[in-house]
Symmetry: C2
Subunit: 337 residues, 2 copies
Amino acid sequence: MAATIKDIAQKTGLGLATISSYLNGGNLREKNREKIEQAIKELNFEVNETARGLKTNKTKTIGVVIPELNNVFCAEIIIEMEDILRQHGYATIICDCRTNKDIEKEAIDFLYRKRVDGIINMPVNVDGNHLKSFIKAKKPIILIDRKINGLDCDCVLVDNLTAVKDAIGILIKNGHSKIGIISGPEEIFTAQERLLGYRLALLEAGIVPEERFIAHGDYTIQGGMKCIEELIKKNPDMTAVFVSNYEMTMGTVIGINELGIKIPENISVIGFDNIEFARACKPKLAIVTQPTKKIGVNVAEIMLNRISGNPEDKKILKLQTGFLNGNSIQEVKLPSI
Amino acid sequence: MAATIKDIAQKTGLGLATISSYLNGGNLREKNREKIEQAIKELNFEVNETARGLKTNKTKTIGVVIPELNNVFCAEIIIEMEDILRQHGYATIICDCRTNKDIEKEAIDFLYRKRVDGIINMPVNVDGNHLKSFIKAKKPIILIDRKINGLDCDCVLVDNLTAVKDAIGILIKNGHSKIGIISGPEEIFTAQERLLGYRLALLEAGIVPEERFIAHGDYTIQGGMKCIEELIKKNPDMTAVFVSNYEMTMGTVIGINELGIKIPENISVIGFDNIEFARACKPKLAIVTQPTKKIGVNVAEIMLNRISGNPEDKKILKLQTGFLNGNSIQEVKLPSI
């Protein structure tokens, strides 16, 4: 016969309330925790999580909705989060919405019906209406990478503006002024911030940004290929390009290779996000790096904190990026006067 | 007050049994399905999935345990599976075990306690003991990519042996006989198959495989870098190398770049798995490609079939790989006699 919590009480000499508190994830003294875990092992006790979920109205599951699981930035954040959440007894249900607003809305509704205890979202929808059910139910919401204006929830972001401003600054220091940018979709928060960083860097250096140097990609490899081909075709005077995510960086390198032009002799390049890809490129690519591990850890910790009932003011974290130098930037020799 | 299934019955004119069948994922006539969905919308009816799970003993969740989520091969398979499973009302709980046998066992136990209806596993443990709880409970198990000897369950595999045999055959046709291989961990099923393909190709061409040309990596980028450096150092006469997964292919390209030697002039290379990476390489890499999308679709369909109670004999699917040509293979000119 299956062991019950009464058997655990008998074996440990602890009260039912203590054991119940343990099973529902409550805090208790280390010594008692150890005793209970030993008894659970010996008695081969199994928690019926479904029954528990009904009683506590908690399912100990967290929903995650992201645009693309095969986007390395998303995958690396999820790995960190999932690991920490699992260590605390939370299962992570992941939905990939393929950068589609309708699928994102469906996925959020689906997770709401699955009664997840909280939701983590790298949003594709920009108005926040897709999260209504969670807002109404007052369940914790954490946004990753992209803020939604007017939505009061925790956000873990990256300082995209400074990241891009600094990267463009490096190109300017190397004598470039005809600098292209492969930006993201116009309505995406990160894309706007990154583009703003680009414009600011140019303006501060006394260069007026020209629209012909700005391409809007869709954060995919194919998008990157298309953008770099357009930019090069349209701007024979362009000497450098900045690419604003990893997938489009890969697309840019493919496009440049297939056009038969050379980095950095014909064009200087700064990419985004993946150290290993940068090292595999020939020549080694200069890139902006994002703190994916740190993002994942922060998101998981904030979620655990919110679930435990902490009502403090919502946090907006902004993490710093890094810069990895490569051999993809060439100095522009100005004609002597 | 919240709507109940009686309200839906009244609104649609259908029997409670029909509505109950719909809510539990049963098959019903398209016309009835539409009626019910319309009523659910209008009444703002919400299913309490937790209560339902307790009654049906089904949670409508599927567990997935994989070695590395930031492994592109894993991520692409999951995207396909998750999409199909969600369309059928199943949530996918994903655990990344970081290629660690103990974490894998823990993750499987965790998902068992979460009462998932079935488990999908790309196994790191090779004896199958980690899946005991699911075997005992007679819940469906599907293995991806790697078979476990003696475990009676569905498997969706790739014909690794033929894939590698054919790739090595191409190198041999180009005059290579001193061919290195960066293989996977010795105890992994796919690694054994791929290595066997390598040995067979050589033997059929009358070349005796030499152990000095075989390196065992761990399917990571770092592992690929280490292996290529060792192979080149140990074998100055090696003219070609085959690399047996994507991450190690990236590591090999990084290693070769950082040693300052040239593909294909100094060494011919055939890699694995990622078309975009192959195109971003300079020169373009020849690679073996795997049918990730097809694997994902097959796994999801078999799982849905098993969950619906189909007891037919377990399936072992073996899917064919592809080959993408590049500019990374150079013909070896034999000295004229």
